[in-house]
């Protein structure tokens, strides 16, 4: 019971950290691209909106596993 709660906390926390860093890298690169070439803002944003979900996929899996563990409590 207690160990599952700790496992859920660690899983969700690590997923949050990983997601934050991953998305931060993607958005930062996009911002740098936009500041260098403001005229390709639209295509860059499209690529960002494709890239952010790809990065987010694994943290989402981790959160799902946290939910599954939460159901086992």
């Amino acid at each position: 019971m207690g160990s599952i709660a700790i496992a859920v906390a660690i899983t969700a926390g690590l997923a949050a950290i990983a997601g934050a860093f991953g998305v931060a890298i993607v958005v930062r690169s996009t911002l740098q691209g936009i500041t260098r070439q403001p005229e390709i803002r639209g295509p860059l944003q499209t690529v960002m909106f494709i890239g952010v979900p790809l990065v987010e996929a694994l943290p989402i899996f981790a959160i799902v596993i946290a939910f599954l563990l939460l159901g086992n409590m």
Binding site: G42, P43, T46, F49, I50, P53, E56, A57, I60, F61, I63, V64, F67
Partner: protein, 240 residues
């Protein structure tokens, strides 16, 4: 806290259960979308005002989303799909924002229907199936079949896995965001209900979080629509 839904066996089959509140809530969401757009689009004028302006802005927005992912030659098929998806997901996300209804023994009767994984994953599965259907229809069976072996023959298993993981992530992203939103709101309400002092303490965070969940809901609706178009573009557009 441990909220659950009323479940009924369909046709008396024990393993085939139906989530009754979710059925009602999705029907309500569909009705809202249908009637709002229906009555907004009644008096079409040459020089748009009010409601027609808002709808035309939405159509233009979806057009921009589609044309940023694929050619307009294929993309013109998907305007209505995009509008339907973005409106439905947006309304469904917004339904749990103002209030939530539950009986005393935690039977939920009103919340965001998208805070249920079954609903979001079946929505995502339908969209992935739809991309396959449009891939077959617009490119022809031969090109569609060849697509599995591009750029090299060993890519075929990865393409199948990609479809599965796309379904899972597309559904799970929406579910996880909206479920987390609902969970935090329920916690804040529970905090506010625990005493007079906490009621004053929890009021301002609750209002702030409601504003934030409006933002989350619209962003998730946009991302769902955007990703639908991206996956559609993978299947539909011809690569050179």
């Amino acid at each position: 806290m441990d909220s659950h839904f009323l479940k009924v066996d369909l046709f008396g089959i024990p393993w085939l259960t139906v989530n009754v509140p979710n059925l009602i809530l999705t029907t309500v969401a569909m009705a809202i979308v249908f009637f709002v757009t229906f009555f907004m689009s009644r008096k079409i004028q040459m020089y748009p005002t009010g409601a027609q302006n808002a709808l035309e802005y939405l159509v233009q927005f979806i057009k921009n989303v589609i044309s940023s992912t694929m050619d307009w030659k294929q993309g013109k098929n998907f305007i209505m799909l995009g509008i339907t998806i973005i409106l439905y997901v947006f309304v469904a996300n917004m339904m749990g924002v103002p209030f939530e209804l539950a009986t005393a023994d935690h039977d939920v009767w009103w919340n965001s229907p998208t805070s249920n994984p079954v609903l979001t994953i079946s929505l995502a599965a339908f969209i992935i199936i739809l991309t396959h259907i449009y891939g077959l229809k617009l490119k022809g069976p031969k090109e569609y079949g060849k697509d599995y072996f591009r750029p090299a023959f060993f890519m075929a298993p990865f393409k199948v896995i990609e479809d599965l993981s796309n379904t899972l992530t597309l559904g799970m992203r929406l579910y996880a965001n909206i479920y987390a939103k609902e969970m935090i709101m329920v916690m804040l309400v529970g905090l506010g209900a625990s005493g007079v002092f906490w009621a004053f303490g929890a009021f301002i965070p609750l209002v702030v979080f409601q504003a934030f969940s409006v933002f989350i809901g619209s962003l998730q609706a946009f991302i769902f629509c955007m990703l639908t178009m991206v996956y559609m573009a993978h299947k539909v557009s011809e690569e050179h």
